[in-house]
Symmetry: C2
Subunit: 80 residues, 2 copies
Amino acid sequence: MKAIVNVSLKTGVLDSQGKAVHHALESLHFSNVNDVRIGKQIVLNLDEADETKAMADVTKMCEELLANTVIEDYQIELIK
Amino acid sequence: MKAIVNVSLKTGVLDSQGKAVHHALESLHFSNVNDVRIGKQIVLNLDEADETKAMADVTKMCEELLANTVIEDYQIELIK
């Protein structure tokens, strides 16, 4: 089973990388961009057939390592 | 309109960040992970109503700035 974890900064947390990319896009004359936010996409290849167990495991991984839950949110998507 | 761009390393390109996370997960006793790949998720808030124009713009942004097409692939998803 494959798990896709998207980790993004919480709303309100300053995204300096996003701001830099937004500025760079403006320099390249892309004027129709209002906002840029940058997050991480983590693709895990799991040796686990049970969906409930996989979701529990990946949630634990996010809480313990993959996301900093003080400033980041995460979303988990499982693909069979 | 919102555009979500997922930038990931091409298959075969060494993902040292993914390797490090995989190793860290093993240290935390998550033994059912076979592989970890880490990419970027870029969320663009566009001031553009036309879907075709938006897709063309975002593709151009990827080619010029957001992705290094020598070693990275990108996927674009538009959300109204």
